[in-house]
């Protein structure tokens, strides 16, 4: 056995191209379906666990998937904003806990997720350092964001510039990092969290500036008893500090300011059914059940995967034929060697083992490479579901 193995290894080593071709074919045949199943199972687990942890998402009518993916996985989707009053109305139901979510901006290409502070408790999120975002301008980083950007508590992070040439759009806002969340292996790791009001500073609905009595007279264009018209060159604050935080205000009713949707956590199934029916029957908004939505999504994915599985099966058959052909040709090429070994004293079983060993070595290399490739693919792609 060991002699045949040694000779088989030497053959494989000194016929690298042949071994490599067979091994690559086997690696692809083994690796592709394993990688597809691993990644798909991982995505399914991740999507399901998050979907099931947030029972209902309420938002504007439109694509159910866009709403759910925006609220759950912080994907920037074309979701029509709703007013804060929707949250207030839902929150009045004593049998549910409602959390507003506003997703529209980014900071260094990471989504800024503005949520009510209950979100952290309901999702079981805990700060690894610092605290939750309680004040205007506070930001809490997901674990992956903090690690990737190399920033932590006490540092600052700017929101990304949206419109470089549109002066009516607020400039980037300097956010104070007051906390970093523990790793959760979920979309939360890849987000920058702020309070809802902070997101309104980013939309321009909240702003802060000097008191009218403190404005440099050169910037005053007109003044009456009730109003002061100032030059557009007077900059608004682009950083919220202890000194200026109380100057921030909304011009108008905060109930009319925009949010993306409302996450709803009913106390029980009955409350779940009632609130869902109530919202869907009102007609203005929709309440979607993320768990069911993910189920529907994977039904489609698995139907597509059946085609993929058939292709893999076909590929497997082609690989078996190819490997058989290569083995047959190799055996014919080795006829002199095999005859010499037989004449010297090798048994038939030894010769069969030797020929098989060539296949076994290629198979072992192929399977090892295929499985390594599959697990490497999983490692590379496992977090991509939150970022792609």
């Amino acid at each position: 056995m060991t002699g045949a193995l040694r000779l088989g290894l030497l053959y494989a080593l000194r016929h690298r191209a042949q071994t490599l071709v067979v091994a690559v074919c086997i690696a692809a045949t083994v690796g592709l379906p394993v990688a597809a199943n691993l990644v798909l199972s991982h995505y399914q687990r991740q999507l399901n666990s998050r979907a099931e942890s947030i029972p209902l998402v309420v938002g504007a009518k439109g694509s159910r998937f866009d709403l759910a993916f925006a609220a759950l996985y912080f994907k920037e989707q074309p979701v029509e904003p709703v007013k804060m009053s929707l949250f207030t109305e839902i929150a009045q139901d004593p049998n549910v806990i409602a959390v507003p979510v506003h997703l529209r901006f980014t900071a260094r290409d990471k989504p800024i997720v503005a949520v009510g502070v209950d979100y952290f408790t309901l999702r079981g999120l805990r700060p690894a350092a610092g605290s939750f975002p309680l004040l205007l301008g506070d930001a809490v980083l997901g674990a992956s964001v903090a690690a990737e950007l190399g920033i932590g508590v006490g540092d600052t992070i700017f929101s990304d510039q949206r419109e470089l040439y549109d002066l009516s759009v607020p400039p980037p806002l300097k956010l104070r990092v007051v906390g970093v969340l523990e790793q959760t292996s979920s979309a939360d790791d890849h987000a920058v969290f702020t309070g809802i009001e902070t997101s309104w500073v980013l939309t321009g609905d909240y702003h802060g500036h000097m008191e009218s009595t403190e404005i440099d007279e050169s910037l005053v264009m007109a003044r009456t008893a009730d109003h002061v018209a100032v030059s557009p060159s007077m900059a608004e604050f682009n950083e919220i500090t202890d000194e200026n935080i109380y100057s921030f205000h909304a011009h108008g009713d905060p109930e009319l300011l925009p949010i993306t949707g409302v996450m709803v956590f009913p106390d029980d199934m009955k409350a779940h059914t009632i609130i869902k029916a109530r919202i869907n029957n009102q007609g203005d908004f929709q309440a979607v059940d993320p768990g069911k939505l993910v189920g529907e999504l994977f039904d489609v994915v698995f139907r597509v995967k059946v085609v993929f599985d058939w292709l893999i099966l076909l590929m497997g058959v082609v690989t078996v034929l190819l490997v058989s052909l290569v083995s047959l040709l190799a055996t014919r090429l080795r006829a002199t060697e095999l005859e010499t070994l037989a004449r010297i004293g090798a048994s038939r079983s030894y010769l069969a083992l030797l020929v098989t060993m060539q296949l076994v070595i290629s198979l072992a290399i192929g399977v090892a490479v295929g499985l390594s490739g599959a697990y490497t693919t999983l490692i590379i792609l496992k977090d991509s579901i939150y970022t792609m």
Partner: protein, 228 residues
């Protein structure tokens, strides 16, 4: 038990696959004894049975009748597996085309038997080194056959045949493709190396010009007799 290294008595062998002109190939050897240390040439035209006789002695074929003793083993009474074991341990073989394994180095070719039976690898490695030095190919051991000259390849084949210190060395037309000068050198090398190891050497050959180097000559056309 025979005292000779090789002893054939009333050997009969028939092989349907070796048919000539529609009739099965038949070989009959009444009596042939070869002593240890002696060198014997086996001559005759193609198809006369030289290679078949070597195959009988090496145990690749079994005689249909008669008594065949090799290195003290009654080959006629052994099954194929036992004959294979005798061949592996007691018999060295040099083939017409040398039959070196192209993807192995010269050293690995010499030690080819250790890939089949690895029970005494240590001793064989030492013996391989000694033989390589004796046959002046010690500096070529890491080369593969395609980087060796014909003469060097022959020496590697001879080393491989002798590495197990066989009691019998069988050579099947090892000079078949060589010019006369190289043939003479090869036969001298084989005979001296075989004799030095104390093995009985039997060589099938077409080359009648070199027969004076042998102790005995077996003419396959005179199967019932042995000319000396």
């Amino acid at each position: 038990m025979s005292d000779h290294a090789i002893s054939l008595r009333q050997i009969e062998f028939t092989h349907a696959n070796l048919a000539q002109e529609g009739a099965p190939f038949r070989l009959r050897i009444d009596e042939l004894d070869i002593d240890a240390g002696s060198v014997v040439a086996c001559i005759g035209p193609s198809g006369s049975g030289k290679s078949t006789m070597l195959d009988l002695i090496s145990g690749i074929h079994a005689p249909a009748a008669g008594q065949l003793t090799v290195a003290g083993h009654a080959m006629h009474a052994l099954d194929a597996e036992a004959r294979r074991s005798v061949r592996l341990k007691e018999i060295g073989l040099v083939f017409q085309n040398l039959a070196l394994v192209e993807y192995l180095t010269a050293y690995e070719n010499i030690l080819l038997t250790t890939f089949i039976d690895s029970t005494s690898v240590g001793d064989l490695k030492k013996r391989a080194q000694e033989l390589a030095e004796t046959l002046e190919i010690a500096h070529l051991l890491k080369r593969r056959p395609n980087r060796l000259s014909q003469g060097e390849r022959q020496r590697v084949a001879i080393c491989r045949a002798l590495v197990t210190s066989p009691k019998v060395l069988l050579c099947d037309e090892p000079t078949g493709n060589l010019d006369p000068e190289r043939s003479a050198r090869t036969i001298d090398l084989l005979l001296s190396a075989g004799s030095a190891s104390g093995a009985a050497v039997v060589m099938a050959t077409h080359d009648h010009t070199l027969l004076d180097r042998f102790d005995k000559v077996v003419d396959m056309n005179q199967l019932l007799g042995v000319s000396t």
